[in-house]
Amino acid sequence: MAILEARGVHKVYETRGVETTAVNGVDLALEPGEFTVLYGPSGCGKTTLLNLLGALDEPTRGTVHLLGRDLGQLSSAALAQLRLHELGFIFQAYNLIPVLTARENVEFVMELQGVPAGDRKARSDAILAEVGLAEMADKRPLEMSGGQQQRVAVARAIVGRPAVVLADEPTANLDSHTASALLDLMLQLNRESGVTFLFSTHDPMVIEKARRRVRLLDGRIEADEREA
């Protein structure tokens, strides 16, 4: 069964009386453990679709199901609960809370989840080591490079043990070397712990490495291919 599923999803924005259709009838189902990339030209609706799948926005028409639950039927508090426990997010930039250190950013999610302090420490240590930032644990975001910040973001996204991690162009602000390393890290996490990943990107290198590639054009799915 699909972990995350969009059925006939439309999203129409209205600005000053002009309607723009950002997502125009998308059906997409993610299976557990998949490593999927969403690609297409700028303005094709990638970010909007990710926001809809991640319970950050409501579709104009259609439904999104996460773990079999219809997001449209849930209250905003229940949606916040879902985001906290079942979803992880990584954004293009300005991802972290600037007044918290790397460790505190990672622990933030666990604190909201109510994980006891001892466990928090152990898990944040482990995960920071895993993303290769054990020494940077007490640095604030402004003291870190873009690549390091994104690694912390990855750590924060998976530390709450979500079902799905959604990443909106996570490598867009990084040089190709750093981007490649970050992607390898995520691939490794996907292989080792089976976390389901969904990316949006227009970086060919990222598209190359994905095992499922969904091409989006003008708010519609144009191609959906899986590696054998």
Partner: protein
């Protein structure tokens, strides 16, 4: 109509539940405290200006209240120390008609026995009080004649410490003490002869010549102009009172004991005597103190309302420029209640820092004014109110409590709008904001 009421009630219930959850989140999630506290210091200059405004506002308001209360406090002290004492005992009926008809015929012995047994009593003294006329070779004036036992009275009121010329009533017979102001009016000095006349207990006019033993000057111009002291025995003789007295005046060890003391004394003396505290003897003064208390709260409220606009403004700016950041927080699972809790905490911290700075400034002000403020230029206006020329600020517990209470309410209310604004936006919209 009923439907609307139900809707309003449901709304209130929802709001109540929401705020309970906000406070639950604040109490549970320590991370909110850390983030809020650090957020306060993100824009140092802006925070600095608000904190300075709060500090100056608090210190200014508290200090000026302390100075004014210093005056009010002195009015009370002056009234107690010049005449009232803490508790007075009279014959029943004296309060409505303070004449010689209502007197303690036993010379206050019954009361004296009870007073000697009560541990709260510091000192007590009998007095005779009558209205009279004082005449000098040059002039005459209406007076309040008070006959005292000099040694006992000295332990209660300040007249003995307020002599500016001559001596307090001592061994010599037929001496009076008068105020400096009265002496000026009568053109008399120490050693001059004056005649004190009054109607005695039988209704006959009685007069007696005295020499001025000394002149006093208190903070009460009214008293200095009208009160004349003689020895108790001589007053009793002039007024043909035998050993009767008008009142017993009592000084308690602590002013706060006055009510207990009066109650206990009243119980022991029964219906034979009318026992009253200074509050009952000078109700106008008490009204005035109460009025001042209420005014203080209004002042604090006015200053804090003015501040609330500034605090709300800063929070609103902070929330606005952090829209995206709040979007990120919401996307990783922070709910509306936690966002409101975060902004509310930030508001509370901002105000608390201001409060701390304000009280530090207040402390500095009090230290600088510890010797009092010299207002002798306005002495007549002050003395007419029973206030001396030097005013020492008095900080009451309420002057610390009031700013804290009003500030907390201000912080919660000023933070409300920005907080709700921050929690309302769709996470996706917030994220689009750069």
């Amino acid at each position: 109509m009923g439907g609307r009421t139900a809707a309003v009630l449901a709304g209130l219930r929802r709001g109540g539940r929401f705020s309970t959850q906000v406070f639950a989140a604040i109490a549970r999630d320590r991370i909110l405290w850390r983030v809020a506290w650090r957020n306060v210091w993100r824009n140092g200059r802006r925070t600095g200006v608000v904190v300075t405004a709060i500090a100056v506002g608090i210190a200014g308001a508290v200090l000026s209240m302390a100075i004014q209360f210093g005056m009010v406090f002195q009015m009370v002290e002056t009234a107690i120390a010049t005449d009232l004492g803490h508790v007075q005992v009279h014959a029943p009926g004296f309060r409505d008609d303070p004449g010689l008809d209502h007197r303690l015929d036993d010379g206050g012995r019954a009361g004296g026995v009870a007073l000697d047994e009560l541990p709260q009593v510091a000192a007590w003294s009998p007095r005779v009080r009558a209205s009279g006329l004082i005449t000098s070779p040059r002039s005459s004036a209406g007076i309040q004649l008070i006959a005292i036992e000099p040694a006992r009275e000295a332990a209660i009121t300040v007249v003995s410490d307020s002599m500016v010329a001559g001596a307090y009533l001592d061994g010599d017979a037929r001496r009076v003490l008068i105020g400096q102001a009265l002496a000026d009016r009568l053109h008399v000095k120490v050693g001059s002869k004056v005649v004190v006349s009054a109607t005695d207990v039988h209704g006959d006019l009685a007069g007696e010549a005295f020499r001025v033993a000394g002149l006093y000057r208190t903070a009460s111009l009214e008293m200095d102009r009208t009160t004349v002291f003689v020895r108790l025995s001589e007053g009793q003789k002039l007024l043909a009172l035998g050993e009767a007295v008008s009142e017993l005046v009592v000084r308690a060890r602590d002013r706060k004991d006055a009510a207990d003391l009066a109650a206990e004394l009243g119980r022991r003396l029964g219906s034979e005597a009318d026992v009253r505290t200074w509050r009952e003897l000078a109700p106008l003064l008490v009204y005035f103190v109460d009025m001042f208390d209420q005014m203080a709260w209004i002042v604090y409220a006015a200053v804090f309302i003015a501040m609330a606009f500034g605090i709300a403004n800063v929070l609103l700016m902070a929330v606005f420029e952090r829209t995206r950041e709040i979007g990120v927080m919401r996307s990783i699972g922070m709910n509306g209640q936690r966002v409101v809790g975060l902004v509310t905490l930030e508001s509370v911290f901002l105000v608390l820092v201001g409060l701390a700075a304000g009280f530090a400034l207040t402390g500095l002000g009090l230290f600088l004014l510890r010797d009092g403020i010299d207002l002798s230029r306005w002495a007549q206006g002050l003395n007419a109110l029973g206030v001396s020329n030097t005013i020492t600020p008095v900080l009451r517990p309420a002057d610390v409590l009031a700013p804290v209470v009003v500030a907390t309410i201000t912080a919660l209310l000023a933070g409300l709008w920005p907080a709700i604004r921050a929690s309302r936006a769709q996470p996706a919209d917030a994220l689009r904001h750069v």
